[in-house]
Amino acid sequence: MDLSAIDPVVLIASLMVAATPILLAAIGELVVEKSGVLNLGVEGMMITGAICGFAIAVETGSPTFGFLAAMVGGAALSLIFGVLTQVLMSNQVATGLALTLFGLGLSALIGQGYVGLKPPATGQLDLGPLSDIPVLGRILFSHDLVVYVSLALIVGVWAGLKYTRAGLILRAVGENHEAAHALGYKVVRIRLMAIAFGGACAGLGGAYLSLIRVPQWTEGMTAGAGWIALAIVVFASWKPVRVLLGAYLFGGVTVLQLNLQAAGLAVPVEVLSMSPYLITILVLVIMSADRGRAALSAPASLGKSFHASS
């Protein structure tokens, strides 16, 4: 065993890359759930974003257009869910699951002509002298733009929910949609906007996978990342900063277990392989051990249908 072969600085930098797709999808889903909607279609929106982003990046030669297309694709798919659940009042759990299946099939269909192609390279953001700072420079200032966007989103969502009027309205809709309606807020419209935001974030996360982390298109390439994102929202008890913690924890253990294997750690490989899931579940259980608090932090109207007449 040679643990000195693992460079902690490089490890942290690569865990940020590994965690970014989950982080983006999770912060989007957090906003959706804060508005009182449970969208289980994250996986489907991610994979649709992955292929939309990949296809447009390949066709236009611009990763930027690719990322924009991924957000549009994810949002468009999420609005199918939005119309079905908010306007036609279908069951949110069933519709969300159907959205995942639909997204997987649709992405495979769109992706037929894009297998084996290479996307245009996404450059790292040039931060000049900042990235030359020892340790911190490598960890904080040597990433691509999307990593910073994901971190900015966390801060933005946190501040937006806590300090702005729009955030207050969103939370009001999620906590008690009838009261919010009585105050004159357009519950359905606000929820549709939250759902579209969640879809765009999931799409962006998927495109990060197909354009930067892998980078190539392959059918089913999200391989369950959307479900991890859903779990992380709960584990974070709907708090943006804890979403960051959860995503980086999962990404970190995933990268760490591969590094430990390469370093020849004398732990059975099977145990290492399941460790990201085990540790995330364990932390989830510990954090929600205090039942009263966990129940309090869940939006009170989560998963309930709303109709102005009721």
Partner: protein, 357 residues
């Protein structure tokens, strides 16, 4: 997946409708473990399927099913293919071994060919390629090319085929460069691009400047290209889109001649269950063009090694060789027998770490 199943179902239904009109057509089924666009293992099997179609034209009809999980699902797919009138079915992954045997018992008139397995029956034959011969050539290039003396190896499942590859590559890398060290990551998947890319990145970060892979996608190639200055080898397919760097050579599986041969045998009524295990000499394993990123002398050595293996002058597992624990496996000049190779479950001396059991 769902959509594929629907399309395949529709194709099968069409096949049934057409069967009455074309009784003399030989129907050949293929079961694939990944998508045909994986750029590696399944892609090459599909190329061979297309070669069968081209060779026999209207005399054959082929059907295939992609991304079939190894397990109970495979049995369902196989049963459906057999029911729809297939005369010959190729199952192209190790994990289809038991499903193939089970379904074959129920359909004694249908012929089955299972790749890389070891269980046979009257209507089940097995075939595989001696990939380890190609691994020997890769190992030699890896040993000569590495500057950090660390070679990374992305392994899939701890089965004999994969272990043979690691041993063969290591023996020849060590012969070319006594200081070489192997780092192995078990990915526990044949196909998961994100995981394969992460594994390649982890190996590169730990100093590996050569990456060998035994997984099916091109993701490790993409990760190596992004890292820069790393060399890789195409796995199962040429992966030439990553040449000349990082991909400097490749092992190409050439199934077409074998598939054509077996389909012909079924047509002639001469098919019999047997065990085929061919290598570079018979043309089942090909070495992809060695790119100009490799110096001329190394390239010449690698080609000479390939020729020696093809002609039978050199066997990749020739003694003296010890097992990992130091016990003697092959004495000076002794050559490994196929039985030991087929069930290989140990590392040779010098490799570190344990094989997961």
């Amino acid at each position: 997946m769902k959509l594929n199943a629907l399309l395949a179902g529709a194709a099968l239904a069409l096949g049934l409708a057409g069967a009455a009109a074309a009784q003399d057509k030989t129907k050949v089924g293929f079961v694939f473990v990944g998508p045909i666009g994986d750029g590696g293992w399944t892609y090459e099997h599909n190329q061979a399927r297309l070669a069968v179609e081209e060779k026999f034209g209207d005399a054959v009809e082929t059907v295939y099913q992609e991304s079939v999980p190894e397990g109970a699902d495979a049995e369902r797919v196989l049963t459906q293919m057999a029911l729809s009138g297939a005369d010959l079915i190729f199952t192209t992954s190790f994990g289809y071994m038991d499903p193939t045997i089970n379904v074959a018992q129920k359909f004694p008139d249908v012929k089955f060919e299972h790749a890389t397995g070891y269980k046979r029956a009257d209507n089940v034959g097995t075939y595989s390629a001696r990939f380890y011969e190609g691994r020997a050539v890769q190992g030699h290039i890896a040993g000569r090319m590495t500057k950090s003396n660390v070679v990374g190896y992305i392994a899939s499942f701890p089965i004999p085929e994969v272990i043979r590859g690691i041993n063969s590559a290591y023996i020849h890398a060590k012969a070319a460069n006594p200081d070489v060290q192997f780092k192995v990551i078990w990915a526990y998947t044949w196909f998961d691009p994100a995981k394969e890319a992460d594994a390649a990145t982890a190996l590169i970060q730990q100093g590996a400047d050569v990456i060998l892979q035994h997984t099916d996608s091109t993701a490790p190639q993409a990760a190596a290209e992004k890292a820069g200055g790393i060399i890789t080898f195409g796995q199962a397919s040429d992966m030439a889109e990553y040449a000349p760097m990082p991909r400097v050579s490749s092992i190409i599986d050439n199934w077409a001649p074998y598939y054509i041969n077996r389909v012909q045998a079924v047509m002639d009524g001469t098919w019999e269950s047997d065990d085929t295990w061919d290598g570079i000499g018979a043309g089942m394993v090909k070495i992809g063009e060695i790119s100009n990123a490799v110096p001329e002398d190394v390239k010449a050595e690698a080609l000479a090694l390939k020729e020696a293996i093809a002609s039978g002058a050199h066997h990749p597992f020739t003694g003296p060789l010890n097992k990992q624990d130091g016990s003697v496996w092959l004495a000076e000049g002794e050559v490994a027998d196929d039985g030991t190779l087929a069930g290989m479950n140990f590392y040779v001396e010098g490799l570190t770490g344990d094989i997961p059991q």
